[in-house]
Subunit: 342 residues, 2 copies
């Protein structure tokens, strides 16, 4: 009560010198008590900490930053033109990142990059507005990575990464794909069609491998399946669906939610009923798949956790002592109407 009073009356914002004076010690001592570094007696530490708590003192981040050459900000690269499909991913991810960053008293600054234009990245880096950066699979631009290496800015990548030198975190695409495919197979489906996108993407490869793993485990060959890759856009999808139907597929596994949306459109257009005539599943979930008619079986990754891990990794890179649980971001296989056996 009285403390509140004091705060309200004075409204004063203390600095380290004020505290030193009030307590009759040196700034050095106060600084040490706060940081917990250097030799300092328990008694002094306690006195300082109590004063700080009572007066709700917060060190000036700018000043500390200048002294330690730190901004206590982390940059998150976001593609300006991410479609409505991608955005939920970023939202979730950002949530996890912010949460973890806050835990260590860091904040997230957004860096919107447009295509191959690195202007904004350069601005943020040359202005030293961040201590490190997080970028995601959606930022294809290896130019960005090259730039950051050159400038020696620590960064982590969210998504598949072939280069072991680059710290990265990723979903368990392969494992999850295998699991979903296995379920389809065990449901008694005889002929699966896998419809996937650009094969040069690593995520495509991972999911493909997972799909194949499921066959292998059952003593079958992935060649028993119809695999149609490099599908890009509705026209491609339409042809892919045609091929799947011609080859008598009784189940279609779509590599991601975008493709799946297109496939659903094609099937509707052709008057093929789901799940009566054919089962459909997606290796990446989104809200539309959940609410569409019928709802579509899919894999939901724990993107929030993925963001947290990315942030943790970056913090570690920056020399913060993070206590990580070493868990890998999980996923759920969600069986919905589109794969029901009637």
């Amino acid at each position: 009560m009285e403390i509140e009073q004091t705060r309200k009356e004075t409204g004063k914002i203390y600095n380290i010198e004020d505290i030193a004076k009030e307590l009759g010690v040196s700034k050095t001592t106060v600084s040490r008590a706060i940081s917990g570094k250097g030799r300092i007696s328990k008694a002094t530490t306690d006195r300082v900490m109590e004063f700080i708590a009572t007066h709700d003192y917060r060190p000036n981040t700018l000043a500390r930053g200048l002294a330690k050459s730190r901004t206590y900000n982390l940059g998150m690269l976001m593609p300006m033109e991410c479609g409505s499909m991608d955005f939920p991913f970023f939202q979730e991810c950002l949530r996890g990142i912010c949460e973890m960053a806050a835990k260590y008293n860091y904040d997230i600054v957004i860096c919107m990059v447009s295509g191959k234009d690195l202007t904004q990245l350069q601005r943020i880096v040359t202005n030293r507005k961040v201590d490190g950066l997080i970028l995601s699979r959606a930022i294809v631009s290896s130019a960005a990575q090259k730039y950051m290496k050159e400038k020696k800015v620590p960064f982590v990548v969210i998504g598949p990464n072939s280069n072991p030198d680059i710290p990265s975190v990723d979903n368990q695409n392969r494992k999850a794909s295998k699991e979903l495919t296995s379920v389809m197979l065990m449901k008694g489906l005889k002929k699966l069609a896998l419809i996937g996108g650009d094969q040069t993407y690593l995520v495509t490869e991972s999911r493909y491998n997972g799909f194949a793993d499921a066959y292998k485990e059952l003593g079958k060959s992935v060649n028993d399946a119809v695999t149609i890759m490099n599908v890009n856009g509705y026209a491609d999808a339409f042809r892919a669906v045609d091929e799947a139907l011609e080859k008598n597929a009784d189940g279609i596994v779509c590599m991601d939610d975008v493709i799946c949306g297109e496939v659903l459109g094609c099937l509707r257009e052709k008057g093929v009923r789901i799940p009566q005539d054919i089962k459909v599943a997606s290796l990446y979930d989104n809200h539309a798949l959940e609410t569409s008619l019928p709802s579509v079986t899919s894999i939901r990754f724990d993107t929030n956790e993925l963001g947290k891990k990315a942030c943790e990794k970056l913090l570690e890179l920056l020399g913060e002592k993070v206590e990580t649980d070493g868990k890998v971001p999980g996923y759920q296989v969600i069986l919905r109407e589109s794969t029901q056996i009637l």
Copy 2:
């Protein structure tokens, strides 16, 4: 070429003192040349600026910040639990904000707030990580606003705002609603039903007024329409649609995209065809309305521009000289299949 060389060889990061020495002037002079403030000869300014350009010097933001008590960061409050519906709004908005901020060499830091929990806001404020804040209609919490006033942190609100003391920017809800409603009326529809949400929201009021304006302009009374407010959730929407149909409405105007989605669901469930049996329009657009079957007539606001304006306003509050064009964020009325006269 040679400049490149120099940069690469040295890789040196200059500070203001280095420059002063190299040029045989004082730090003061260099600082003045850069800021463009204070008396200084054109000749000296040019020399300094040339050196800076050649060596790609960037003032240390942290140091400047400490001296001027500025972070050159703006905070953007984001609701943690914004649904998939809300997010496109934030994405667009954020784009505009970032773009404008970058123009004045500010950056955006994200502050995720969850419900009424102000922890993150307090953290960012007491740590002085931002010079000001932008919050949007989705942050209902007036507690947040109260906190910021108390702490004297400048902020602007995106969305309807009754309090004229609080700087805010908003879409032209009333005008846009009137325009869309007018079009419906002029298409010859005899009985419109307006289905809206919580009447305590200011945005609801604005849109309602716009709807009424259209009637007034045609010399009619809004009482000719069926208005059903405070609709919240599918069950409510179902009853509202029932009522509209009973009263022989030949057109339904939904106050926002969420309600519209529900109304579409209800109509489908009831076997009412759009636009054959009834026309449907929404006073707020989203991707689903654009791609649904049939596509739905709607109002698309220029959210990107809205974000820019919000940022401009905040920058002005912070004392930056912004050159604004005084334009108001626009909108488009997009007539799609759902209102076609067959």
